[in-house]
Symmetry: C2
Subunit: 340 residues, 2 copies
């Protein structure tokens, strides 16, 4: 039952070699490439134990060993040594992110950067509206009975919706509405708005009340109920790396999962402060991703979290490197957001 240090070293060596070569690794090759200080036969005995415990398995009787999901899990939890980023990578990150003009721009650059550095599929969630505060509400009359509502959040997100008013409004009415709404809502967290919005309607003058009611229902509906989350995706071509060995030959389920925003949000969006989450193969709740691993973390200015980002790749993945990159990118993005 107990795994002594050498057995753990063997497991680590197997994971590292398999990730590097993509081929089942045998006892002989292992002792050649790593200084284990024992003979192949000894390693074989250790391997037999590791296999009994479910950390590795043999694709065929006469083949080398391959880590199982459980093996990767042990590796990630206890065996992997943190891989510091190379200076080149650091430079790449900085170069990539300076000069972003826009939240859109930041997100797009980030997701491309992440895909490029990890050589995997990258996902970045836009700063969540639920975690943003209202910075300003703008009402733009499109016609006498139509209003465009533009909400600017402190995270830089801007959302707009067209509102069909119950009756015509004068320019002064619109100004009043704007002032009322801003007075009440600016600075408040979006998840806290429902009671505020209600108060807003109640406090409006009878004259403006119908318009305010429509306006607030649209606000609630768009921004809170179906909480407008957005995602950016990049690097799907990286799925074809490593031939068809990863993902057991079919990209179909992975591509399908990546098209489902809801699925991705569940994956990436449930970030907690300063934690990097690693989901390996089977641990994944989404069936289509059972053959994949996900590394994700939260990001935001300072110590707060406003959104998540991460990568999706084969279980046969360079976990230490990927984790380091994901963390580093998240930190840089956080700093960038803090500057605004």
């Amino acid at each position: 039952m107990g795994l002594d240090d050498r057995k753990l070293a063997v497991l680590r060596a197997i994971v590292e070699d398999y990730v590097a070569t993509q081929e089942p690794v045998g006892s002989k090759a292992l002792v050649e490439r790593h200084q284990l200080g024992v003979s192949p036969a000894t390693v074989r005995n250790d391997m037999a134990v590791l296999e009994d415990e479910g950390y590795i398995r043999q694709p065929h009787t006469s083949a080398g060993r391959v880590p199982t999901d459980r093996g990767y899990r042990l590796f990630v939890d206890r065996l992997s040594r943190v891989k510091p980023l190379s200076p080149a990578e650091r430079r790449a990150i900085e170069r990539f992110l300076v000069g972003a003009v826009d939240l859109d721009d930041v997100v797009h650059r980030t997701v491309r950067l992440l895909a490029q550095l990890t050589r995997q599929v990258a996902v970045v969630q836009y700063p969540s509206l639920a975690r943003s505060k209202v910075r300003h509400l703008e009402l733009v009359p499109i016609s006498t009975t139509r209003l465009m509502v533009v909400m600017i959040a402190d995270t830089g997100r801007v959302e707009q919706r067209l509102v069909e008013l119950p009756g015509p409004l004068s320019a002064d009415d619109v100004t009043d509405l704007r002032r009322l709404a801003n007075d009440k809502l600016v600075g408040s967290r979006l998840s806290d708005t429902p009671p505020l919005v209600q108060a807003l309607v109640d406090e409006s003058s009878p004259h403006l009340r119908p318009a305010m009611a429509t306006l607030s229902s649209v606000l609630l509906e768009t921004l809170v109920e179906r909480h407008e989350e957005r995602l950016a995706l990049a690097g799907t071509a990286n799925l074809t790396r490593g031939g068809l060995l990863d993902f057991q030959g079919s990209l179909r389920p992975i591509l399908e999962a990546l098209e489902e925003e809801v699925v991705l949000l569940k994956l990436i969006g449930e970030a907690e402060p300063s934690t990097t989450r690693v989901l390996i193969g089977d641990e994944n709740e989404i069936d289509n991703l059972r053959a994949a691993s996900v590394v994700s973390t939260g990001y935001g200015p300072g110590r707060t979290i406003v959104g998540g980002l991460g990568v999706v790749g084969p279980t046969r993945m360079d976990y230490p490197g990927t984790i380091a990159t994901v963390r580093a990118v998240a930190r840089y993005v956080g700093e960038l957001l803090a500057q605004n």
Copy 2:
């Protein structure tokens, strides 16, 4: 040289059968499935001619025939009969598109619908800013030296940019700026703005001129120079349909091409009124898409074109059906936009 009617019928039959079965089609199977009124031997003679002319080819000596890109081209140009949409499809389109609340929503629904109906990868370009008119410019002070510029276009597009001002502005200054800019720019086409913007700066009071200059340079830079085009993509999982036979085994080049916005824009965005463009295999200028075909068209309210949409799929594609669907979706989207 001349291809008589029967030879053309044979080509059409080959294309239709090959698209349906995905297998090289032989002379015997052809006469069985289509009423050609002649024997297999005759068909073989015709096939020999078609092969000489480069319309079909044999994967192996003892296999049936497969259309070449040139064969598909002839088929599309002269042989395919228009396939009217099924009532179910029409209903699907309507059901899918009513209830869209937003331009974003319209585009997302459209791209998903198109992917679903054609079972291919769908691409939809957001209404091009170059073809939009300014409906309103809103300036929102973020701090005394920072302004958020929100541009609302008549196509429903909303773009925003953060502007770093050369010096602090009062609320009244902002109001003045806003009024000046709107007076001058509202209603004008974005591609025509550069001279207008210049005039705007010249006509500003000396007091406001530096701010206006910054503002206008940002406007020009964002909206005109690097003309902000946007795209939505859906259905990449459909690439895995038809196994690995299409795209000669590797999705890599296709996925890479689909990640390049610039590439896609060139493909989809150069739409001309009431034309459906079909690019087959080799005809494609983008190397990565040499194994694929693209069907695209423009859309917009009324007879104008504000953007493009289309699908990317294998050369072995149901051209008549795809063309019909792409056209129909474009028309519905146009109607939807006209309502705003």
